[in-house]
């Protein structure tokens, strides 16, 4: 099999098993996309991984990880009004960050075309909510295409790009977690690379591009008019699909991944299967197609994940047209929650038409209890040492504010550091508010280094500017670890190569932060001392708690020739079963046997030794080269 990078640049038609995120990159190449930008966030980082597989000099488009989603959107807009087809992609809540810019795009004449790829997360696999971003489409007069699987991701992106280029308006391609990550064999077309046109085509006469006061009205009129044109286009679009089961009374309107779940559920239908209209264009909805479908049935179920977006649109359409059809939307608050998996859809359809599907009884409990497995910090993680040390510096009444990143996991036992969480970069602002009228409970906020640049800076500047009184702990690991080690402004490289570091300490000094402490987190006692000092300092203080991401470090080490694994061990003579290593330090390496003996799991220990000084009995031995040779 060819390497992914070569495969993506294949000229002739081919087919390959790929995930949705990879299929998207081939679609970008075929469509002639020239500028792509993002900020990492699940479920979309694998799009960048597929882009990375193509050597930079062969990449037919420019790509960057911008400092945040808003900047990425602005970059793509700038490129698009200069004539280049552009694409920005990010996770669901990334659109909140980008929103101030994004909501304006529909007003603009985007001559090069621009596709906004959203990775929504129904089921909250890796986000702080399961927001339904279709609402933003209404707010901004933007069309939305919604694929169900990798093959559709590929065709729908190309359709979105063409539509955007033709109408000079932004188009959303809305993916969800298990559309991004699903894998299947996809048939790809030929790629006939056109020679790139690098002429800067920006012309104010294509505008106006200054939306201000009354100048907005003609732009808004145009946006609404374009949306009506897209509605007509949607009626003729092959992206909507009718499955005619010859049912005269019952139909279902659905879209995206829930369609696949529905098809699975209908395997078990007793009797006649309902007809299905699967919408590929979910905003604006195709009027004639839906009216005809409604008119052909006595009852129509709107099966949609998350909110009642289609339901509202379709019901109002039926009202306007005076159609005599029973439209069944959401009937239970549970219908608004979670991913529409085959089980969920089965339950929803069973409740809708009880005789269609046999009721299922809930699973009986298992015979024995099995411990839950919450996510946790990796062996050797610098954040573990940090939380262990910081906890010792704080009183139980102190308030700790979490932020987004691997260090969010500090809120879990045994550390329980972080009692509030909101979104990227929110911790300094919330901490400042918690410090008002508060002389008795000290406030400590956490922030990661990628988030520092992403959205943390305004809150930090505000804390200096308005002289707030709390301690910020900057958890610096040199990378955007949670999403797979993407570089940030202090990493020393960007996506495309080396880049001068913007050291966080210098930024803080430049901003006038007076009290800055800095320590490697493995120096736990020193860190405890520094945090004690920082929280006693009047005003705003910052502790830079630094240690490189050990997952990234170990991956690099393992690739080096002659690499030997290292481990600590436990001297069973010295061990007094205090369990500090398990209960307080909490490294997953430590395994407790039924007899109470504690051993090191050789599959997990990386021999970093950060645990050594935490053992009151001094029973943990210094790292040594593993005895058995490791194959691999």
């Amino acid at each position: 099999m060819k390497k992914l990078g070569e495969l993506l640049l294949t000229r002739e038609p081919f087919s390959e098993i790929v995930m949705g995120n990879t299929a998207l990159v081939r679609a970008m190449i075929e469509a002639g996309t020239r500028v792509v930008a993002s900020y990492p966030g699940s479920p979309t980082p694998e799009i960048a991984a597929a882009i990375r597989s193509i050597p930079k000099e062969k990449r037919p488009f420019y790509f960057e990880f911008s400092t945040n989603e808003k900047v990425a959107t602005e970059l793509c807009y700038g490129a698009a009004v200069n004539g280049h087809l552009s694409t920005v992609f990010f996770k669901s809540v990334g659109l909140n960050v980008a929103a101030d810019t994004f909501v304006q795009l529909g007003l603009m004449n985007i001559i090069g075309g621009m596709v906004v790829v959203l990775g929504d997360d129904p089921g909250v696999n890796s986000s702080q909510n399961e927001q339904d971003n279709r609402h933003y489409a209404r707010l901004s007069y933007t069309p939305v295409l919604e694929p169900a699987d990798p093959a559709e991701v590929y065709t729908f992106y190309k359709a979105a790009a063409r539509l955007s280029q033709e109408k000079h308006m932004p188009v959303i391609l809305r993916l969800t977690t298990h559309v991004c990550h699903a894998k299947q064999r996809v048939e790809f077309d030929r790629w006939s690379q056109e020679p790139p046109d690098n002429t800067p085509k920006f012309d104010p006469d294509n505008g106006p591009y200054i939306p201000i006061a009354k100048a907005v009205f003609p732009l808004k009129r145009r946006a609404l008019q374009r949306l009506e044109e897209v509605r007509k286009w949607a009626d003729e679009s092959l992206l909507n699909r009718l499955t005619d089961n010859g049912n005269k009374s019952r139909g279902i309107i659905t879209a995206g991944l829930p369609f696949l779940s529905l098809m699975e559920s209908l395997r078990e239908v007793c009797g006649e299967k309902p007809n299905i209209l699967k919408l590929g264009v979910v905003h604006p909805i195709p009027k004639e197609t839906i009216e005809n479908f409604l008119a052909d049935h006595q009852e129509v179920k709107i099966l949609e994940e998350l909110d009642d977006f289609l339901e509202k649109e379709i019901k109002s359409m039926a009202y306007d047209e005076g159609l005599d059809v029973r439209i069944i939307g959401k009937t239970d608050p549970e219908d608004w929650l979670e991913e529409y998996t085959p089980d969920k859809v089965y339950a929803v359809m069973q409740r809708t038409w009880p005789e269609l599907l046999a009721p299922r009884s809930p699973d009986a409990k298992g015979k024995s209890e099995v411990s839950p497995r919450p996510a946790q910090l990796c062996p050797g993680c610098g954040h573990r040492s940090a939380f262990y040390a910081i906890k010792k510096a704080l009183a139980e009444t102190d308030i700790t504010v979490a932020d987004i990143g691997c260090h969010t996991l500090g809120f879990l036992p045994p550390y329980e550091m972080g009692q509030l969480l909101m979104c990227m970069g929110a911790s300094p602002g919330m901490a400042a508010g918690l410090s008002l009228f508060n002389d008795s409970r000290r406030v400590v906020a956490f922030l990661g280094d990628s988030t520092f640049f992403h959205a943390g800076l305004p809150g930090i500047i505000n804390s200096v500017f308005n002289r707030h009184n709390f301690t910020l702990i900057l958890m610096e690991n040199g990378t955007t670890a949670m999403t797979g080690h993407q570089p940030h402004a202090a990493s020393g490289s960007n996506f495309n190569g080396p880049a001068e570091k913007i050291p966080v300490r210098q930024v803080l000094e430049g901003l006038g932060v007076r009290h800055i402490f800095e320590v490697d987190t493995y120096q736990q006692a020193k860190l405890t001392g520094m945090v004690k000092e920082a929280v006693e300092t009047d005003g705003f203080s910052v502790v830079i708690a630094r240690h490189p991401c050990m997952l990234k470090f170990m991956r690099e080490q393992r690739k080096k020739p002659g690499y030997k694994s290292r481990q600590v061990d436990i001297d069973q003579e010295k061990c007094r079963r205090i369990q500090e290593c398990i209960a307080e330090f909490g490294c997953p390496t430590f395994t407790q046997y039924p007899d109470g003996r504690i051993e090191v799991n050789p599959d997990l220990c990386i021999g970093d030794g950060s645990c050594i000084r935490t053992c009151p009995a001094e029973a943990i031995g210094i790292p040594h080269i593993a005895e058995e040779p490791v194959e691999g």
Partner: protein, 191 residues
């Protein structure tokens, strides 16, 4: 066979991704329609990784429902027990590599600990055939996935997929020394 569902699970870092990709491609080489999906939100941070593979004549969703998998595969014993309770159907098969990555609750002595006997009893209670694999000759934990794959094949747990299809899938994904080592372990059970 209309459709066959596999529920594959383990802990982040155990090499679920490669095993899942081999199974997916083996089904494809065998001429089945196949879809798969990995759920890996916070998996890198020591959480549960789940991968689903479904193949047969017509596959719509890659997602499996609760207690519907024909075959459960786990690279860790606690996750094997969890799969038995939540994902594998009655009359199905569960094969697991008996690695132990204790969840926090178990390390703290809060209960919910799995062992060979508990897993065996759980399988029996729901008429699920349980196969335990442990190969002491495999020293590198990142090779346990291929040791398990070899046993999956030797026990003929993949309907209408031949050994050759699995080897072809491995050849798609690996090369050189790494491929040789993995093929040797897969075929002979010896590293």
């Amino acid at each position: 066979m209309e459709i066959f569902s596999i529920y594959l699970t383990g802990v982040g870092g155990q090499g679920i991704g490669l095993l899942s990709e081999v199974l997916l491609r083996a089904a494809d080489h065998a001429g089945h329609q196949v879809k798969g999906v990995d759920t890996h939100g916070l998996a890198q941070r020591g959480g549960i990784v789940v991968s689903r593979i479904r193949f047969g004549k017509a596959v719509y969703s890659p997602l499996t429902g609760g207690r519907s998998a024909d075959l459960g595969i786990s690279l860790e014993r606690h996750e094997a027990l969890r799969s038995l309770q939540t994902a594998v159907k009655e009359g199905g098969t569960m094969i697991y590599y008996d690695a132990v990555w204790q969840p926090l609750g178990v390390r703290l002595g809060a209960g919910g600990c799995a062992d060979e006997a508990i897993i065996e009893a759980e399988g029996k209670s729901r008429e699920i055939r349980v196969i335990r694999v442990l190969n002491p000759a495999v020293k590198d934990p990142r090779m346990q996935n291929m040791a398990l794959l070899g046993e999956i094949d030797r026990n003929n747990l993949l309907p209408e997929i031949e050994t050759e299809h699995i080897k072809e899938a491995m050849t798609d994904l690996m090369e050189g020394e790494m491929l040789e080592k993995n093929l040797r372990l897969f075929s002979t059970g010896k590293p």
